[in-house]
Amino acid sequence: MSKKHNKLEAKNLNAYYGDFHALKNINIAMEEKNVTAFIGPSGCGKSTFLRTLNRMNDYIEGFRVEGDILLDGRDIYAKDVRVDELRKEVGMVFQKPNPFPKSIYENVVYGLKIQGIKKKSVLEEAAEQSLRQAALWEEVKDKLDKSALALSGGQQQRLCIARALAISPSVLLMDEPASALDPISTAKIEELIYELKNDYTIVIVTHNMQQAGRVSDYTAFFYMGELVEYNKTKSMFTSPKNERTQNYITGRFG
């Protein structure tokens, strides 16, 4: 395999909620078109880190970041970066499916509409394409104008993925995207991630070691705000270097 370039990099990253030091000196580089999994016990800072990657924490009162996060080598916290542009580049999928209370179609084209795209043919095409990518097209093509809230949880989550894909990001952040779903839906999402990594750089937070093992190329283990270990998933699961990593993945805690 040819060496892939670093899509996302964090350099000496520290993050605080008020006085609380949530991320401690994180250094990590994630390659493009790979899946990186963040694992670690609850409260260790996985979500916090994930959300600093598209500045979703900007709106949290008292939250601040030190150090750099580079997307394709550009600091995303630089003054001249427009958050809305950044987020079009770095899409996000959340733990609980959160479709807008609108029709399926409106959900998918939302991102394009707010960019000012109005042409129906463009929108429709984009909708179909991203629903196909999210492996949802066949299930919903006949009811695009039905409320998205009427879908099952697993379908809703795939809709949220389709919605994120519609604005053609290059990075996809996913915060425990399957933890609220049943086993069958979970399997579908995992399959989907596997498909998507051909085109997207994916970062996924998961509580489920097995899931991390199944879907990711690289795994980062966080513990109390620190990045304890970061390695190819296979190496990490078979021969963790750090004792805490070992304890965690063998289920001694968490």
Partner: protein, 285 residues
């Protein structure tokens, strides 16, 4: 990327408009307050608070009015609080489903929107005439109690709803009965919010004029009431009375009385806000 710039421009424009609207609201409020304080502050002194009403503006005071208002506050609380909380508890914890509960709920929602003047007509017929209470404190307090009952019920329900299931589960799991759970856990945990609601409801009751006029409380009462069956006057009525006098000096009195009334409502609202904040800080579920 002009589209994106346009969006940001609209965003900024709306922000300015938002500040403007908020500002309008606050400015109007400031105008009111300044206007009233300028007019009334000069009349506001100890004598004003301790004097009886009089035909001479310079001698007239609001002793009977504020004492009456306090009476009304206390009586209304005594009547409306137990009733409202009990009804709220019933709706939220006991009769939750079914047609009957649904009916009760619609009914309360409706009562909450019935204009206060209609409560006045109700109070006039039921309390003043049928129960022969006359234009007494009790009749006034009963009328206002009915007026704020729906508000108390609704806030009680909201407050109870905010108590997490886990607290109830914890209590049930220890063998507590329903009422024991409500009494020992649900009500204490929600009491702060319930109280907030009640105080806000009371601050509404304190400012009501129309229903009291309808039950005949517009009167010269030169003594402070000593029992719930006495006649009374309250601040808004006194204000209303003074604003309709020919002598301009009474308008100054009215303004001074309005300051007192506003201070009272601020006090009540302040307590409510304080309780609300304390509750939020104390309990993080």
């Amino acid at each position: 990327m002009t589209n994106s710039e346009l969006n940001r421009l609209k965003d900024k424009a709306f922000q300015i408009f938002g500040i403007f609207c908020t500002f309008i609201g606050l400015v109007v409020l400031a105008i009111f307050l300044i206007d009233i304080v300028m007019e009334g502050a000069k009349r506001l002194d100890w004598d004003f608070l301790t004097s009886l009403p009089s035909r001479r503006a310079s001698q007239a005071g609001i002793k009977t009015a504020w004492v009456g208002t306090l009476w009304i506050l206390v009586l209304t609380t005594l009547i409306a609080l137990p009733l409202g909380v009990a009804a709220g508890v019933y709706l939220e914890e006991y009769g939750k489903k079914g047609r009957w509960a649904n009916f009760l709920e619609i009914n309360i929602a409706n009562l909450a929107g019935v204009p206060s003047i209609i409560y006045g007509l109700l109070g006039l017929e039921i309390f003043v005439r049928q129960m022969k209470l006359g234009s007494s404190l009790l009749a006034g307090a009963l009328t206002l109690s009915l007026l704020i009952l729906p508000i108390i019920i609704v806030t009680t329900r909201e407050a109870i709803k905010a108590v997490p299931r886990s607290i109830r589960d914890g209590s049930y799991a220890l063998g507590a009965s329903k009422w024991q759970t409500v009494w020992n856990q649900v009500l204490p945990a929600s009491f702060g919010s319930i109280l907030t609601g009640i105080i806000l409801a009371l601050s509404r009751a304190v400012g009501e004029t129309a229903p009291l006029i309808v039950i005949g409380a517009l009167a010269y009462v030169p003594f402070t009431p000593s029992s719930p069956l006495d006649e009374f006057t309250v601040l808004p009525i006194q204000i209303f009375n003074w604003t309709s006098r020919p002598q301009e000096a009474f308008l100054t009195n009215a303004a001074a009385a309005i300051i007192v009334l506003l201070l009272l409502t601020f006090l009540l609202n302040g307590i409510a806000v304080y309780l609300r904040n304390r509750q939020q800080r104390k309990v993080k579920w």
